[in-house]
Every structure is written in C-alpha cells, then in structure tokens.
Amino acid sequence: MPGVTSPSGGHNTNRAVRHHTLVVLVENQPGVLARVAGLFARRGFNIYSLAVAPTDDDERFSRITIVVDVESSPLEQITKQLFKLVNVVKISELDPDDSVERELMIATVKADPSVRSQVIELVDVFKGSVIDVGFDELSIAVNGEPDKLDDVEELLRPYGIVELQRTGRVALPKLERTPPRLKSVQNRAAN
C-alpha cells in the first residue's frame, strides 16, 4: 500500500484531506464495473481503493465503494461524471470524519518457532486471527479501520511480510442523534 505522508504530521487527518469515499449504488448489470473503472481512467481520476459486492437486494443492485484521490481532480466533477453512467443509481459521498470504515487484511508473515508467539500476540492485540500455520510462516487475518490495519502492517514488517492483501475499504455513515453528514450527492433512485 502506498504510504500516506503529510506535511503537517498525523496521518489520520491527512488521509481525510487526500481521500474521499464514494459509495456508488449500481444496477447489477454485466460490465458495470468496467464502466465505472473505465470512466475513472478516461477522465484522469485516480482510484485509491475499490470494493464491489452485491447489496441486500442482490438481484438488482451492487455497491461499489471507491476511495478517490481528491487531489487529482475535484470530487464534484468525479461524482457528476459517474452519475452520467446510466447504470449508476445513487452516489453517497462519505466524509471520513462522519463515517465508519472497515477493511480486511490478510497476510503471510515470517514466523519461525522462536518468534511465532510474538506474532500471535501482536495479532491478538489487534483482535485478528491466525488462519494458517506453516513451519516458519503464519497467515493472519485482521479486520478493522484502515488506519489500524496500517499500524498492524508496520508492526508486522520487521518480522518479514511474505505476502499481504487488503480488500479496500467499505463504509457506512456514522449513526448519530443529529442527522449524519451523509451527503446524498444525487439520488434518482426510484423508491
């Protein structure tokens, strides 16, 4: 994963500035992901991460969670162009400060018997799990906030990361008593 650096320090706030999460509800049609990805390529927008899965109404709709680099182009133009795709039904822009985000990371780590317990302990601290054990390697799974996964990655690195995969984040607006700042950018969904 590309490291997130900030001239002003703390990487949590920095991520909020550079990246925005778009939750895009699309019709479950063949090629719809290609349309979305192709649009980003053609218009010169950068995708930071992308996750796709059917929604609860999996016959009709899928949800694409796209983390976009908003320094590359204005978010408004991205959402407007995305919304021109006929299969895009709804776009919600989630402000990182007012949403809950989760991501899953799985990794194989060097862990010969002498350090194996240290690695397991580390994974435990982050409420992760060991999903496979080899002679001198462990495969682990951790899910959580993307920042937390960054931390896990940093802490595992000294042991030697053999392979690492992250799913890209999915997000929901935070539930609050006051209305959440889920900005429904546009919503033409027929309810």
């Binding site: 019709e27 133009q77 407007k80 919304f83 021109k84 006929v86 039904v89 033409r188 969904a189």
Partner: protein
C-alpha cells in the same frame, strides 16, 4: 406483431425499430448481422446501403442533425463495428442522438477470438452515452425502447446495441421470444439510474433573471444545446425582450438568425472579432447549452475574466467542469429560457428596470465597424479566393439550404461567411473534428429532406477520406451537391505550419494533379465540374443547382496561401486575437 405472438430476435429487432418510427437505416450487412437483414426485405423502413461503415455512422448523424430524430445505422461485427467507432465518438462529442446496431459473434463464441469478433461494447464504452450487449432475445424490445429513450432525452447521444448472431437467428432456439412492447412508464421504471433534470430550479431562474436585468454589458453565449432542445424560438424571445446580443458557437450556427441585428456570430479560435471581444469584455455571460470548449475559451484563465457567469445546461457535469458558474442551472435549454423570459417579464412588470446597456451596444457596433470579416480580393492570374466561392454559393441558394462541412479551413470559412438564418441548416463535426464528415453527413441530411437543397462544402483532404459514399448517393438517388474548396493542401495544418512552425511545411501538400475530381465524380455517377476562374464560379453553381437527378461535385481551385482570420492561437488568451493583416492597425483601440 401481436402481444405474446411467438417471434425471433431478428424480426423483433426490426419490428421494434419500426415502432420507434425509424424511417431509414444506414448500413452494410455482413456475417454476424445477416439474420437482422433478412426481415428488412419486408420492412417499411428504407435501408441505404453504404460503401464503408464510417459512412453509415456519419449519414445517421447528418439525418439526426437536421431532423432532431435519432439517426440509425446498422453494421456487422468486428471490423464493421470498429469502422463506426469514429462516427460514434463524433456523435458523443456533439451530443447527436443516434442508435447503432452492431452484429456480434454468437454468444457462446464471445471471448474465443472468433472470426470477426471484437469487444464492441468495451471499445465503445467511453464514446457512447450507453451501450448494450444483448444476452437474451427476450430483452430486445425493451433494449430497443431504452436505447431510443436514452439517445433522445437529457443530453442526447449515441447508444449502441451489440447483438450476438444466435439471438437474432430464427434457426437458433436462443432467438425465440414472445413479442411485447414496453410502455413509456415501464421504460422509465426499468432505468432507475437515468432521470435527466429538465426543469430549471426556480430560485436559480429568478437569480439569473435579476442578474440579466442588472448587467450593463451582457452577452448570450448560445451553444449546440439550443438546437438539441429546439429552443431557437425561445432564444429569440429572450434576446429581443432584453436587447442582449447573441453569440452562436460553431454547434449553434443557425440557432439565432445571422441577419438579426442582435447576432454577433461565431466566437472562439476563428470567431469574428466582435464575438470574441464581447466575451472578453462582458460583465455577464449568459451561457445556454454551451460547454466552455477550449476552442471557444482560448486560455481559460483569461476567458471572460470580467464576467459573472450564468450557465444553463442539461448535463450537470458541464456546470463547473471548465468554468465555475455564479448561477448554475441544470435543465433543458428551451424550458430554462422560457422560464427566464417569464421571470424577467414579471420583474419588469413589478417595476424593475433594466440597466443601461447603451454604452455596451456602442462598443459592440464599434467593433463591428472596425473589424468586419475581411479577405483580400482575387488577383487576376491567381487562384480563387475560397471566401468568394462561399459568398457566391451563399447568395445563390435558397435560405433553407442545408449546409454540411468537413473539418478545417473550409469549415471555418463556411461558418464565418454563410448566413445561417434557420435552425438545423448547418451540419458539421465540432467536438471531434472528424475529417471526411461532410459527404456522408450531407447524404444523411438529404435522405431526411429529399426536397431541400443540400450542399456539402468540403476540403480536398476531407473529400478524399469518404468520397466513395457518392456511389451510395448515386445508387440510392440522394442527389447531394459537393463544393470542394481545393487548395491541394491540408489547409488548416498548412496554416499552422506557416504561422507557428516557421513556414516549414511538413507533409501537408497533397497534389495539384491527382485525383482528377471531375473524372472521379463522373466515375461515381455524379455530375463533375472544375472551376478555376472567378467568372466561372456563378454559372457553374447555377448549373449545379439545376441538376436534381444525380449528385454534383464542383472542384473549385482555391488559393493555398489564404488563411482563416481572425485567429486566436492555441493556448493564447482571446484578447490576443489576430485579425486579418489589413486590419492590424485597428487593434488595441478599445
């Protein structure tokens, strides 16, 4: 065909096109699309058999430009599909409603690199408003209805339907379906992500109306959206109500009559001086169905820098794409303008007065007097002036003549020198700048209006790209007229090399001897003429106008040194507009 009547995909596709009101299909058959061509024999739809699929696409565009109805083209898979890529991209950039049907290899063969297979929907994804790969014959009536709905509503554009052969082949069980025809409501309900906004927001309309009345130096920037929305009448009402001058972009020529006292003509890189300067000096740019294209704005940072901007467009993505508007209005140009007129009227009735624009009007008429369009007259012994040819043609054709052009110098001169006084009389390739557009586009326009005169003004470079479609025109009895402004060069490129590449002419000279355009025309069944002297121009045009039983081609031999002025160099500010050398002394006085 009755509801629930058993049928097959091919017959259903043609029936669906008939029900959509299609009068003519421009196309060329081939392996994968064969089953769809079979029911055409019995169909009421006229089919125009082209000589190259690119021609089919541009003919469909020409038809759509002049009628406002979607143009339809149909070709086979693979190379035929790739040959319509250019017209699709052209239609996408100029928002031309079009439905293109392509054949595809049988569904099960997709992905196997079968003969004449290509990923048509993948290739055309970014140059169509939407596209479909049909996977089930039962979807055909619905998809055809959706395609026409999408192509013609909101911001119009091309829609492609890719049809695998097995789905339309009556001998294949996968082609069977029971006929149905979705209602409008069903079409809309089936497209939950497609809801174009047509009515402007009332608060924004009111805000815009107030700004319009308060502006001291307002100007209307009218784009192709005026024509797409059939808003020419509404625009005239707005202009006359407020006395505000109208600039018509290349795509909007004819949307406001050139002979109207409030018309300033074309802006941009080769716009006339007054139109260009009115943008630079205005305090309120009333943008209606235009998109701040780089050929209009020049250097964006310095474009209309003193102006507040009202921007109305049916495509929300255009608002703020290039220029951030002060008042954005999403909506159909006609509805927005009509709402603006109502809002302005009610403000005036409530006692509001319009700001004094008399000083601005004087400035404008000053520019017009100082910098009219100008070219140096013909010198005996030299080649013809292209502008003279255009003026003669313009003055000797009916005012409702449909004029098509290719791309380059001849296009700019036509836009500059023709007097477009009716909407839908000007057909050209604006956004994509497709050389070779004019001959097939003219054929498409003439197929739509057989009784109207259709002239294509072409360059010699453009003509050589698609001239073979004149065979189509002859065989199909679509007698278009072609005026080639033949300077033996890729003229616009030559102009840039002369002005910006130190007269180093790299690969722009074509030939003064071949082809022999007269012979070429005659070999394709057209009447052919060659004109070298000014005296021959009018008589030859008159002769051409009288020929109605076949196409006509006139090869006008024009002066290669002639350049298009005014000109704003690429990337420069519009304030640095270069006028004709003979007018240079007049610059900078305002």
């Amino acid at each position: 065909m009755e509801p629930n009547e058993p049928t097959n995909g091919g017959a259903a596709l043609i029936r669906a096109l008939e029900l959509e009101g299609v009068e003519v299909i421009f196309g060329l058959p081939g392996g994968a699309i064969l089953p769809v061509y079979d029911p055409i024999i019995e169909s009421s739809i006229r089919h125009v058999l082209v000589r190259h699929e690119q021609g089919a696409g541009h003919m469909a565009e020409g038809y759509a430009h002049v009628t406002g109805k979607p143009g339809v083209c149909m070709v086979t898979s693979g190379p035929a599909a790739t040959n319509v890529v250019t017209p699709l991209a052209d239609a996408y950039l100029d928002s031309v409603p079009m439905v293109c049907i392509t054949g595809q290899v049988p569904y099960a063969a997709i992905g196997t690199d079968a003969f004449q297979e290509c990923d048509t929907t993948g290739i055309t994804m970014s140059i169509t408003k939407h596209n479909y790969l049909v996977s089930d014959a039962r979807d055909i009536p619905r998809i055809v209805r959706e395609a026409f709905h999408i192509a013609t509503t909101g911001r119009p554009g091309p829609v492609l339907i890719d049809v695998p052969k097995d789905i339309v082949d009556p001998t294949n069980p996968r082609s069977s379906l029971e006929w149905y025809w979705p209602t409008d409501e069903e079409v809309v309900a089936g497209l939950p992500g497609y809801r174009p906004t047509t009515k402007g927001h009332p608060r924004k309309i009111k805000e815009a109306a107030e700004m319009i009345l308060a502006a001291e130096r307002p100007v209307i920037y009218a784009g192709g959206g005026i024509l797409k929305a059939r808003a020419a009448e509404a625009l005239k009402e707005l202009a006359e109500l407020t006395g505000i001058h109208v600039v018509t972009t290349l795509m909007a020529r004819g949307a406001f009559p050139d002979d109207h006292e409030l018309c300033l003509g074309m802006p941009g890189m080769h716009g006339n001086y007054t139109a260009v300067m009115s943008f630079q000096e205005t305090d309120l740019l009333i943008t209606l169905g235009a998109r701040f294209d780089d050929r209009v704005t020049g250097k964006l940072d310095e474009f209309a820098s003193k102006a507040k901007v009202i921007h109305a467009d049916i495509d929300p993505a255009e608002l703020g794409k290039n220029r951030t508007p002060d008042v954005p209005i999403v909506g159909d140009a006609r509805l927005v303008i009509e709402e603006l007129v109502v809002a302005i009227r009610s403000l005036l009735e409530s006692g509001r007065t319009q700001a004094d624009t008399s000083a601005w009007k004087q400035t404008i008429s000053g520019w017009q007097e100082k910098h009219p369009l100008h070219y140096d007259q013909h010198v005996p012994g030299e080649r013809l002036k292209p502008q003279f040819v255009l003026e003669t043609l313009r003055d000797n054709t009916p005012s409702d003549t449909i004029v098509c052009s290719g791309v380059g110098q001849h296009q700019m001169w036509t836009s500059q020198y023709w007097h477009f006084n009716h909407p839908y009389t000007w057909v050209n390739s604006g956004g994509l700048g497709t050389m070779g557009f004019s001959v097939p586009a003219a054929i498409g326009a003439k197929a739509a209006f057989p009784d109207r005169m259709v002239w294509a003004i072409d360059g010699d470079g453009c003509f050589q790209m698609t001239a073979q479609e004149l065979v189509t025109a002859t065989v199909e009895q679509i007698p278009v007229k072609i005026a080639i402004l033949n300077n033996s060069y890729l003229g616009m490129v030559r102009q840039w090399q002369e002005m910006f590449y130190e007269e180093r002419y790299s690969e722009v000279f074509l030939s003064q001897t071949v082809p022999d355009y007269k012979m070429w025309a005659e070999s394709m069944g057209c009447a052919g003429f060659r004109v070298d002297s000014p005296e021959e121009v009018l008589p030859t045009i008159q002769k051409a106008n009288e020929i109605n039983d076949r196409p006509v081609v006139i090869d006008f031999r024009t002066d290669a040194a002639e350049k298009v002025f005014p000109m704003v160099a690429s990337g420069k500010s519009n304030s640095e507009v270069m006028v004709h050398p003979s007018q240079v002394a007049g610059i900078g006085e305002y």
